[in-house]
């Protein structure tokens, strides 16, 4: 089950209202695109979903339960994984270790068992490695498995972030500008990949994106934010023709 419900969420930074009563839902199995001009509050909302920002009003529930009392590291446990807009990889680790680190919530081993290499820890480690190998295969990372992340091309690092997030077996995947910095072909590939994730892994996806083409192509539904409020919500076609959306993006005519 995966059902995310954002209910009249308010976030303030000092005197500035970054989110002003935003409400929408992300039902199971859907790909929902979140768009809006710069400063509309998209990333703020994402950071609320990861529990990195405090919410000042309203509620966010996942499968009927409020997430606002949970610490950030519990989000993967309830099934919410994410990637970051500006890449937040572990820069001194190899590609493989980055992915393995993503498997943290899907494993248990503690300090003592790991230090002593007890059978349980070894089994778990083997299981994590197998899973990481499969994900690297799936996301075309096998060739760079043992390389450090610093030297990798941008597109590869973006795929690595997705692989790392998938290691914890999320039900809901939050993608923060996955197309940022990608070239045309890479964006095409990404669009296919996002559909593939939903279809093959039964993932629900919430996507923040500047790249209109990608959002319109992959989303089942699009939510438009502007100045901290929800401006519109609907299918990509409805959004494309929505007068207020056109105005927000292109400015008032005449």
């Amino acid at each position: 089950m995966s059902h995310l419900c954002i209910d009249k969420v308010v976030v303030r930074f000092g005197g500035i209202v970054a989110l002003d009563g935003v409400s929408f839902e992300v039902p199971e199995g859907e790909i929902v695109g979140l768009i809006g001009p710069n400063g509309a509050g998209k990333t703020t909302l994402f950071n609320c979903l990861s529990r990195l920002y405090q919410v000042h009003g309203g509620d966010i529930t996942y499968n009927g339960r409020s997430i606002l009392s949970l610490p950030p590291h519990r989000m993967t446990e309830i099934g919410i994984g994410r990637t970051f807009q500006n890449l937040a990889l572990f820069h001194n680790m190899t590609v493989r270790d980055n992915i393995l680190a993503g498997g943290h919530p899907a494993s248990r081993g503690g300090f003592i068992g790991n230090a002593l290499r007890l059978p349980g820890s070894r089994r778990e480690e083997r299981r994590l490695h197998e899973k990481a190998d499969r994900l690297m295969e799936e996301l075309d990372l096998t060739a760079v498995a043992n390389e450090g992340v610093g030297e990798l091309p941008f597109g590869t690092r973006k795929r690595l972030e997705i692989a790392r997030a998938l290691m914890s077996d999320p039900k809901l995947l939050l993608l923060d500008e996955p197309a940022g910095g990608l070239n045309h072909d890479e964006v095409d590939e990404l669009a296919e990949r996002i559909h593939g994730l939903r279809d093959e892994r039964a993932l629900t996806v919430l996507l923040v994106e500047h790249h209109m083409g990608l959002v319109m192509r992959v989303s089942d539904r699009v939510v438009v934010l502007s100045f901290g409020r929800k401006l519109a919500e609907g299918t990509p076609d409805e959004i494309r023709q929505h007068p207020e959306v056109i105005e927000a993006y292109l400015g008032k005519a005449g």
Binding site: H73, A88, F90, H91, L100, G103, P105, A115, L116, S121
Partner: protein, 325 residues
């Protein structure tokens, strides 16, 4: 390997995987060919290496700074000495208990400290290092700690009638403890726990978003680090046969830090290099120039940092990589 590989290079290549084993063999032979003071110094290298290993786990792998590890070393040493002299404990029991006591101290100190930014954490631990010798001397604790005099103890001879003198025996005990610690630390770093520690160092926000309990791991790492350093302190009490407040000043914390950085802060084997460096290089500096020993030591440190930014262990790694090319 191509046919053009030079014979000497091929020879070295064969040798390289045997290096750790050869080192261990040399370390095992050492007590039977070296004597007295040299052996005592090697024992101290092993003890310092344990403390530095504790610091490496904390700083190198988890990104937390400590200028206060002399305090945990002191806890280990004093608990061992007190248990042995007042309650008649054998050191084989007293040292592990002392290690746990230091680990607990580290855990309790880590709880509030982990909320601090790196610079403030460094300062807080510095406070701990400065306070420790004073506390140990304090008249309120004098009955327990022996005040300024400290506590002298006697180390037991080798058990089971082994044909070893006490210097040889305690050298071998220290070596065995160090080897165990290096093995445990290696396992830890290569596991889920180690990856979590490193992830927190590299990017705490991404680590938390990836399901890692940042606060929990930081405190646990602080405790493990203090535990290793506390065991080192306990062994040092037995080896030196004396604990006194002025052996645990801020200078000792700096000594560990130098050993950690010079050896290679994010490395396991670096702790051994670091332990050897802080023990032998000051003496070496004195041989170079009596009057300028401090300056020569400083030049050595700057030299290592300048020419081997990953420390001695990193330098050794690079040599190995070059050989394998």
């Amino acid at each position: 390997m191509t046919a053009t590989t030079k014979p000497w290079k091929r020879y070295l290549l064969h040798l390289r995987s045997a290096v750790p084993a050869l080192c261990l063999l040399a370390a095992l032979i050492a007590p039977f060919v070296l004597e007295g003071f040299t052996l005592y110094q090697l024992t101290k290298v092993a003890v310092y290496a344990m403390a530095i290993l504790g610091l490496n786990l904390l700083t190198g792998y988890n990104g937390q700074f400590s200028l206060g590890h002399s305090a945990f070393y002191a806890v280990g040493a004093y608990v061992t000495a007190i248990l042995m002299t007042t309650s008649g404990f054998t050191p084989y029991l007293a040292i592990p208990i002392a290690g746990l006591a230091a680990g607990l101290a580290g855990y309790l100190f880590g709880l509030p400290a982990l909320r601090l930014e790196p610079l403030y954490l460094a300062l807080a631990t510095f406070g701990l290092a400065v306070a420790t010798p004073q506390l140990l001397k304090s008249s309120h604790l004098e009955d327990l700690t022996g005040g300024v005099q400290g506590i002298s103890l006697t180390r037991p001879e080798a058990p089971f009638g082994l044909p070893l003198n006490s210097d040889q025996w305690w050298y071998l005990v220290s070596l065995a403890v160090l080897v165990c610690m290096l093995w445990l630390a290696r396992n830890l770093i290569d596991s889920r726990s180690g990856r979590a520690m490193i992830a927190i160092r590299d990017n705490p926000i991404a680590a938390a978003a990836g399901g890692i309990d940042v606060a929990g791991y930081k405190t646990a790492t602080f405790a493990v680090s203090a535990l290793l350093t506390g065991i080192a302190g306990g062994l040092s009490a037995v080896v030196v046969e004396l604990v006194a407040p002025d052996s645990f000043t801020f200078n000792l914390a700096i000594l560990f830090l130098i050993g950690s950085v010079v050896g290679g802060v994010a490395s396991i084997s670096g702790a051994v290099f670091g332990g050897a460096f802080v023990l032998f290089v000051p003496n070496l500096s004195e041989d170079v120039s009596k009057g300028l020993a401090g300056a020569v030591y400083g030049v050595f440190i700057i030299g290592v940092i300048f020419f081997m930014p990953q420390g001695l262990a990193g330098f050794a790694q690079k040599l190995k990589a070059r050989l394998e090319k």
